[in-house]
């Protein structure tokens, strides 16, 4: 399903190049709920970004459903993210000018006019995450937990085979974090989606089927 092969990622932004990933290889099977753990700077988010086609590796390759990212140009990668990958970020990342429902529909809207079926699915997802009454609210009118639930609905709206979550509970209180995690787990299981989640929180990681641990840019435990 997801295949990461001998990936190295070197950042050359400062004066000294920083090697965030030092030859990482991992495979993730369909339907798995995988958490990636590790201390700050261990390369967790870098790995997630590479899997999510948000960034390109310095060496090695990533593929999703047997399509190697290295063979795709920027537009094709955009389409891949739009149709095959869902994202949930730590900082909610909703468009402030769109309503909750429109935010859920965002990937479909980027594709043009969403189909009736997608629209119905978006409404249903909002119901599922408990925000049926808030469809027309804007992000500024929602709480942090509510925003993250909108983000989860958005990640699932196109029925992507993969959902990537970067510290999805990092900005939420404990109780809300638990609820959001349970929701993510439930929705993923129902739709058979693969979930890859970066987290600091052992409690969050415990929800996963498998935990990959990184340290200094290398996998120290592949679960």
């Amino acid at each position: 399903m997801i295949r990461v092969e001998r990936v190295r990622k070197i950042y050359r932004e400062g004066k000294v190049p920083v090697e965030a990933l030092r030859g990482v290889s991992v495979e993730i099977a369909r339907g798995q709920f995988v958490s990636i753990m590790g201390p700050s700077g261990s390369g967790k988010s870098t790995l997630l970004n590479l899997i999510g086609a948000l960034d390109r590796p310095s060496e090695g390759d990533v593929s999703l459903e047997s399509r190697a990212y290295s063979s795709l140009d920027d537009d094709q990668l955009s389409l891949l993210r739009r149709r095959r990958i869902g994202f949930v970020f730590q900082f909610f990342n909703l468009m402030p000018t769109l309503t909750a429902l429109e935010n859920v529909l965002l990937p479909a809207l980027l594709d043009g006019r969403p189909s009736r079926e997608t629209e119905e699915r978006a409404v249903k997802l909002l119901e599922h995450v408990g925000l049926a009454g808030r469809a027309s609210h804007r992000p500024a009118e929602l709480s942090g937990g509510e925003m993250q639930r909108v983000a989860i609905a958005r990640a699932l709206v196109t029925r992507p085979p993969v959902v990537l979550a970067d510290e999805p509970t990092g900005n939420l209180d404990r109780q809300t974090g638990r609820e959001v995690l349970a929701l993510l787990r439930l929705e993923a299981r129902e739709s058979g989606t693969t979930v890859v989640m970066v987290t600091h929180d052992p409690e969050a990681a415990a929800v996963a089927d498998r935990t990959i641990t990184l340290r200094d840019g290398k996998i120290v435990e592949a679960g």
């Binding site: 948000l54 960034d55 537009d75 955009s78 891949l80 993210r81 970020f89 990342n93 468009m95 980027l110």
Partner: protein
């Protein structure tokens, strides 16, 4: 303070692009201001220096009516009590023949034998080792001898012994250079384009026998004030001679140019306002971006005043950089515009020689200071907003709260501004400056700017629908972003709106003038051919010709009638106006001038009996009506003339007084004319017309004659309108560029603000193209928004200018004409240039890496 300056300086250097954008905007605004001030100073100085250089030690000048002082009066002046020295002067601008069009020389006639008090001994100045003239006697023996300023000789490659030709009323004359004058005294006037002749030789050469232009007087002793002694001299000399200080002449010229100067000052003021919008916008953006920094400063004990000072000082710093660059740019711009402005002033008002524009330190410094002060002023409001940031809120780095712009308050403020604008517009002039109209325009612009956020918010949903239909989701996001920070975006929209308003109001004003002039030529200037010498501008740049030419043309085959015209500027009750004399009967037979009071029949009957008609603008400015009298200086002293009609005329904004030419000749003893209007036999074939033109030129080869057709005249008139407004055109361009810099700055800031949003959009699958489309659409919508403000603002500005400002300064009531092409040009123009300004920020946004964008705080 040093710490604050260090913070500002490093911040400005860290964002070189945006810093230079704002500095460039200020520089352009200051450049306009500086260049117009330089041009104004140059023109003023050219007059002042010219008058000073020739008047020299003279305390007073004696003049008499438009045709000058009769020779007999000189003795009277010399004998008058209190007069120590008196010398006559002839002073005229002569067109050079055979050189580039419009080239001229100031010829000054001085009594070289009789005077050595005022001008020194020019023929053999004992203070010089070498006398400028080898043989003074030979010089005085010839009517062709001249001394020319070294600069004049150098510019035209003339040495001693060389000759050049000038057009005079007596025909084209050769003048021989007998000596060169060093660049001081008389020679230093008028940019050095000066030639000096012996007065009596000049009388013969220029057909001015028996007359002087002025008599210069130096008074005896010190004693009482010059004004008191002038009054005594006035009493002693009687009513036919005018006694005044030399400087009064300059003041009258300055007053005549007031309309032109008002337009320039107003326009440069608007350019600076647009630049102030840019600074306001830039500082607002800086405040929004640096809330964390402000919070930190406040948390560590920075006071409110320190935070305010930080931002005001930063703006002042930008103002200083922009101001300095602008002052330099202003010199270049002034040099670029000098020719154009000189020609406009020469054809419309009075002949000027705009020489090399000097970089006057005073003007440069004041313009640069203006840049600093206006930048600092523009920063005050956003700096106050910065000081209001709560330390805790800023340090927490919570996203900035959405702007709370109170529509109600803005609407009330905008309404007040509109009401004030309406109330100010009709106020009368203060010291000949239409203060009411100018303030009204500025307040109007302010009113529209205050309403900009409301206009944006109200139009956003409709714009969003349209944009979504055209550009999909990116289009819609763009429209929604427009209304998101209405305060910030509105400033950009206002600045661009002001630029659009400028294009529309100036464009419409030009169309109004052309419509009026077209109609006027249609009715009032029906001659088939117009014969003049040297230039088509009667009374300003042409050379008068003898009336015998009119008589000769009258006898040529194909000519049905001729109307000889005399047109000259003269002082009419202390202000300049055009005295215009012609054959009233012939003119009224062919023409159909528009009378606003009185009629053609009265004019034909009364003008040959000594009455006058005045132009409607002169009547409006001096509050004259039919039945009133106007006092004019004549060679026989001041005389009252009865007004029997008021007519529409656009010849001069100084106004016109019309005489029958028979009466004029009798009263003023002047038989010269400036043009011959020729009416042809109806149906004369084109070939015959051409032959007639050739015949006129052939029969008077000694007069540098020009024959224009009616259509030529129309084209030339429109040409001068276009030329005059070309200066304002350069200003529109600058206003537009500054406004565009504003768009660029706003969008670059918006892209930085929304880095995370853009990253998220990219993460969920937006392509680079979609991101680009969103930003460019936003830029285009800013352009459209500014048209929503610019079009009504431009049309109302045009109204204020036509009805009040121009009417008050010139007395011309031009029809209010809406120039649709100007509106189309402005709206399409701002849309397109705004979109172009969006390209760079759009590329920048599209280049953002989704991961980097998501990491951004």
């Amino acid at each position: 303070m040093r710490l604050l300056l260090a913070i500002s300086l490093r911040r400005l250097l860290a964002q070189p692009l945006r810093t230079s954008l704002v500095a460039a905007g200020i520089a352009l605004g200051v450049a306009i201001l500086c260049s117009f001030n330089l041009l104004r100073s140059e023109i003023d100085e050219s007059f002042r220096k010219g008058i000073d250089a020739i008047a020299g030690k003279a305390d007073l000048e004696i003049s008499a009516g438009p045709t000058g002082v009769a020779e007999e009066a000189l003795e009277r002046v010399r004998r008058a009590p209190g007069v120590a020295h008196a010398t006559p002067v002839l002073d005229t601008v002569a067109n050079l023949v055979g050189g580039p069009a419009g080239d001229s020389v100031r010829v000054v006639g001085i009594d070289l034998l009789g005077d050595d008090y005022f001008f020194g001994d020019l023929l053999g100045d004992r203070s010089h080792d070498e006398a400028p003239v080898e043989d003074p006697l030979a010089f005085l023996n010839s009517t062709e001898s001249v001394l020319v300023a070294e600069a004049f000789a150098r510019k035209r490659g003339l040495g001693v012994g060389a000759s050049f030709q000038v057009a005079t009323p007596a025909g084209v004359r050769p003048l021989r250079v007998r000596g060169l004058l060093p660049m001081e005294g008389v020679a230093d006037a008028y940019g050095g384009d000066v030639a000096v002749m012996d007065l009596y030789a000049m009388q013969i050469a220029f057909g001015r026998e028996g007359r002087f232009d002025r008599v210069q007087v130096a008074l005896e002793g010190e004693g009482a004030s010059v004004d008191l002694r002038a009054a005594a001299l006035r009493r002693a000399l009687g009513g036919d001679l005018r006694v005044e200080r030399p400087a009064s002449r300059g003041e009258r010229v300055a007053r005549m140019l007031l309309g032109f100067r008002t337009a320039l000052s107003f326009a440069s003021g608007l350019a600076l306002i647009v630049a102030m919008f840019l600074v306001y916008n830039a500082v607002s953006i800086a405040v929004a971006e640096r809330r964390g920094e402000i919070g930190l400063l406040r948390a560590l004990g920075g006071t409110l005043a320190q935070v305010r000072r930080l931002f005001v000082a930063e703006a002042a710093l930008l103002g200083a950089v922009g101001g300095a660059a602008g002052a330099g740019l202003g010199v270049l711009l002034a040099r670029l515009l000098a020719g154009n402005v000189g020609e406009s002033v020469s054809s419309l008002y009075v002949r000027v020689q705009v020489g090399t524009i000097e970089a006057r330190p005073g003007v440069l410094a004041s313009s640069a200071a203006f840049g600093v002060v206006s930048s600092a002023l523009a920063a005050i409001l956003p700096a106050r907003a910065a000081a209001r940031v709560a330390p805790a809120e800023a340090v927490r780095r919570s996203p900035p709260r959405p702007e709370t712009v109170r529509d109600g308050r803005l609407a009330v403020a905008g309404g007040c501004a509109f009401a004030a604008s309406a109330a100010l517009a009709p106020l009368p002039m203060v010291r000949d400056v239409p203060v009411g109209g100018l303030l009204s325009s500025l307040v109007l612009v302010l009113g529209f700017s205050l309403c900009a956020p409301i206009v944006l918010r109200l139009s956003a949903p409709a714009l969003a629908r349209v944009a979504e239909r055209i550009a999909g989701l990116p289009g819609r996001l763009a429209a929604q972003n427009l209304a998101r920070l209405p305060g910030r975006t509105a400033v950009t929209v206002s600045a661009l709106g002001v630029a659009a308003a400028l294009v529309i109001s100036v464009g419409s004003f030009v169309v109004s003038i052309k419509t009026a002039v077209h109609q006027w030529i249609e009715n009032s200037v029906r001659a088939d051919l117009i014969v003049t010498a040297s230039s088509p501008w009667l009374g300003t740049t042409n050379t008068p010709i003898p009336s015998a030419i009119a008589d000769d043309v009258r006898r040529m085959p194909g000519v049905a009638a001729v109307d000889p015209l005399r047109s000259l500027h003269a002082d009419v009750s202390g202000q300049r106006a055009v005295l215009f004399a012609h054959d009233v009967v012939t003119y009224e037979r062919y023409g159909d001038p528009v009378y606003t009071a009185g009629d053609a029949e009265t004019v034909v009957r009364e003008l040959p009996r000594g009455a006058i008609a005045v132009s409607s603008n002169l009547a409006a400015r001096r509050k004259l009506g039919v039945g009133d009298t106007l006092t004019l200086d004549t060679p026989a002293g001041a005389r009252d003339f009865r007004i029997v009609a008021i007519f529409v005329d656009y010849t001069s904004d100084a106004g016109m007084v019309r005489f029958d030419i028979g009466v004029y000749r009798q009263v003023f003893g002047d038989s010269l004319i400036d043009a011959v209007d020729v009416y042809l036999v109806p149906g004369l074939p084109a070939g015959k017309v051409r032959a007639l033109r050739d015949q006129i030129l052939r029969r008077h080869p000694g007069h540098d004659l020009r024959v224009y057709t009616n259509r030529d005249l129309r084209e030339i008139s429109f040409g001068i309108v276009d030329q005059t407004f070309r200066v304002l055109g350069s200003l529109q361009l600058v206003a537009l560029i500054v406004a565009i810099l504003g768009v660029l700055n706003t969008l670059v800031a918006a892209v930085i603000d929304r880095t995370r949003e853009i990253g998220m959009l990219r993460a969920v699958g937006a392509t680079r193209r979609q991101v680009r489309v969103a930003v460019i659409t936003e830029a285009t919508l800013i352009g459209i928004g500014s048209s929503l403000i610019g079009v009504p603002a431009g049309l109302i500005l045009h109204f204020i200018f036509t009805r009040y400002v121009n009417y008050q300064t010139s007395g011309f009531m031009f029809p209010y004409t809406i120039a649709w092409p100007a509106i189309a040009q402005a709206t399409i123009g701002v849309g397109v240039v705004a979109a172009l300004a969006g390209i760079y920020p759009a590329r920048r946004a599209a280049r953002l890496q989704p991961t980097a964008a998501l990491r951004a705080e």
